[in-house]
């Protein structure tokens, strides 16, 4: 039962992350939301991989998730650097044409 519980939690996390991506315009918040989606998918992958009777977990999803975590970090590093450079060049923390939903302080 438990592995499926974690897989379902992963599915919920994907939903939460996608919401963050759609509802938030601050770019760092979007990057954060991406990481929530990613780890939700990983958790679903791992949870689904440990279903069933018998002990132990499927090592293939585990290895895949470790690879995925590292790839996500690489993408996050590039994204974060792009956002800080955009801020340094233009003072913007959102994409042009998108109104910051975070209020006037974050405009």
């Amino acid at each position: 039962m438990s592995p499926i519980l974690y897989a379902a939690t992963g599915a919920v996390l994907v939903g939460i992350g996608v919401f963050g991506l759609l509802a938030r315009t601050h770019l760092l918040r979007r990057i954060l939301a991406f990481n929530v989606i990613g780890s939700g998918i990983f958790l679903a992958f791992g949870g689904l991989g440990s279903r069933g009777p018998g002990s132990g977990v499927d090592p293939v999803p585990q290895a895949i998730v470790i690879t995925g975590i590292v790839v996500a970090l690489a993408a996050t590093a590039l994204a974060v650097t792009l956002v800080t450079r955009l801020f340094e060049e233009t003072g913007a923390v959102t994409l042009p044409g998108e109104h910051p939903a975070e209020g006037p302080d974050a405009s």
Binding site: L21, I37, F45, I64, A75, L82, T90, P96
Partner: protein, 501 residues
């Protein structure tokens, strides 16, 4: 000697991944000294790609279990006719871009420059990533290969460091990452359902149940975002037009094709049983929408590179027409193989044509110091070779004979008429006319006499010749279409003949 080298035991496919990676690592380590490696590396890469294609022609499709572990445990590489033809197309464009960029990113006064350092590792890793996508036969490995492309492509877009390109790169990254994550979610679902990641094993096991369909849909949606198919195309024009010229060429000619290639592999090789008439028609509708909207938007652009970028949006639409045109098992049609071949041929022919167009455009913009169309009036007198290259590439994009674009559109059109789906034939014809409209609008500007003689910066003839050579390849693909046609048929998926589902 030659037959020996083409023997099945020589892993040309592996070399096509290892070599660019090795050059990229050397470029990181050596910095400014790496420029001596660039041209030999690119030419060797082209030789390897041609050898791989010759190997497929001589001996048929080739499979390799990496590490000696067969799927489902290990990862398989698959070199068939389709993969080999994409390897060659990539190598041709990459060689052109490498030759074009060598002087562009030359270190100044033997001191390493930022763009000069970053471009070559990004370029060669991008090349390796493309080859890895074309050769991959494992869903998760393909995810890692796709991320190689995402990171290199985004970094290349931002290479100029200007504020607008930073914003374009971020928009691109957001779309591409969301696409990758959607793809990964589908991979997780398929693994949970079937316990395998290998395309062949999945194909044998797949049944059209809810979870398989959902996984296929999520993966396709993600890959479509990365392919920038209408209506998910918003990120492409600013990114492709804002990137430095060599990067524009690589991105528009090749990178967007990689995710399309995976959509085609997914449906024709893995899940043909899950396709329905409705999904095929939906794909076709998106393609037709891309052709019409992309062309209309291209017609309204005032920046040269934006015209070319919107033309990419439009041309990508043709690729998706191949899904409805292959028909289905329920309604078999004799020209299904023509539709599949035509779609793939279009992807191949578009690559050198679009690369040539971006390189020529980059030279014109450099000569004129302005990216808008108006100041380019009369540039044909100053840069005749670049203009001729642009014109030849335009011939292929419009689908006029004897270009590769013509062959592709002829095959698609024949399939549309033979299967009685005249509405797709209309889209193809309209697309050709619209392409003629937006390209002649630009060409006309090149050739009119300018009001006053504008000062032009000199550009090297060699660079113009590279653009011309690439445009020539796209024409040659139409004149000598037999060999690529034969190559594409080797290891062709059954669904390309029998139709989807």
């Amino acid at each position: 000697m030659l037959p020996d080298l083409l023997a099945v035991g020589v892993p040309w496919a592996v070399a096509s991944i290892v070599l660019p990676l090795a050059v990229a690592l050397a470029a990181i380590a050596l910095g400014p000294h790496a420029r001596h490696l660039v041209l030999p590396g690119a030419l060797l890469g082209a030789v390897i790609a041609l050898a791989a294609a010759a190997q497929v022609l001589a001996h048929g499709a080739w499979h390799h279990a990496v590490g000696g572990w067969l799927p489902p445990l290990g990862i398989r590489l698959r070199l068939d006719g389709l993969a080999a033809s994409f390897l060659v197309a990539t190598a041709v464009v990459a060689c052109g871009v490498a030759g074009f960029s060598r002087r562009l990113f030359e270190p100044s006064a033997r001191r390493e420059t930022r763009a000069g350092f970053a471009f070559w590792p990004l370029f060669f890793v991008m090349w390796a990533g493309l080859n890895a996508v074309f050769l991959g036969a494992d869903l998760f490995n393909l995810y890692v290969a796709l991320e190689l492309l995402t990171l290199t492509a985004v970094a290349m877009v931002a290479l100029d460091g200007k504020a607008e390109t930073l914003a374009a790169a971020i928009r691109y990254l957001l779309f591409a990452l969301l696409g990758s994550l959607a793809y990964l979610l589908g991979v997780a679902l398929l693994y949970a359902r079937y316990g395998a990641l290998d395309l062949g094993l999945l194909r044998a096991a797949a049944v059209p149940d809810a979870i398989t369909l959902a996984a296929g849909a999520i993966m396709t949606a993600g890959l479509m975002a990365k392919t920038a198919i209408f209506p998910l195309h918003g990120w492409l024009p600013p990114a492709h037009a804002g990137a430095p010229t060599p990067a524009s060429a690589m991105l528009s000619a090749l990178v967007v094709k990689a995710s399309f290639y995976l959509i085609a592999r997914l449906w024709f090789d893995v899940l043909p049983a899950a396709a329905t008439v409705e999904t095929s028609q939906l794909f076709g509708a998106l393609g037709a929408g891309a052709i019409v909207f992309g062309s209309l938007l291209a017609l309204r652009q005032e920046q040269l590179k934006l015209v070319i970028a919107y033309s990419t949006v439009a041309q990508l639409g043709y690729l998706f027409l191949m899904f409805p045109l292959t028909g289905s098992a329920a309604a078999p049609q004799p020209w299904a193989a023509a539709a599949w071949t035509g779609g793939m041929f279009h992807a191949l022919a578009h690559a050198p044509a679009k690369a040539a167009m971006f390189l020529a455009a980059g030279l014109m913009i450099k000569a004129c110091g302005d990216g808008r169309l108006a100041p380019l009036a009369g540039i044909g007198r100053d840069l005749p070779i670049a203009c001729f290259a642009f014109g030849l590439a335009a011939v292929s994009l419009m689908g006029l004979p004897p270009s590769g674009g013509f062959t592709a559109k002829y095959l698609l059109l024949t399939a549309a008429l033979a299967s009685g789906q005249w509405w797709w034939a209309l889209a193809i014809l309209a697309g050709g006319l619209l392409a003629a409209a937006y390209l002649f609008r630009v060409l006309n500007r090149f050739l009119i006499a300018p009001a006053e003689a504008a000062p032009r910066v000199a550009v090297a003839r060699r660079d113009q010749a590279i653009a011309l050579a690439l445009a020539g390849v796209s024409i040659l693909l139409g004149l000598a279409s037999l060999v690529p046609y034969q190559l594409l048929q080797i290891g062709r998926p059954a669904a390309a003949v029998g139709g989807l589902s």
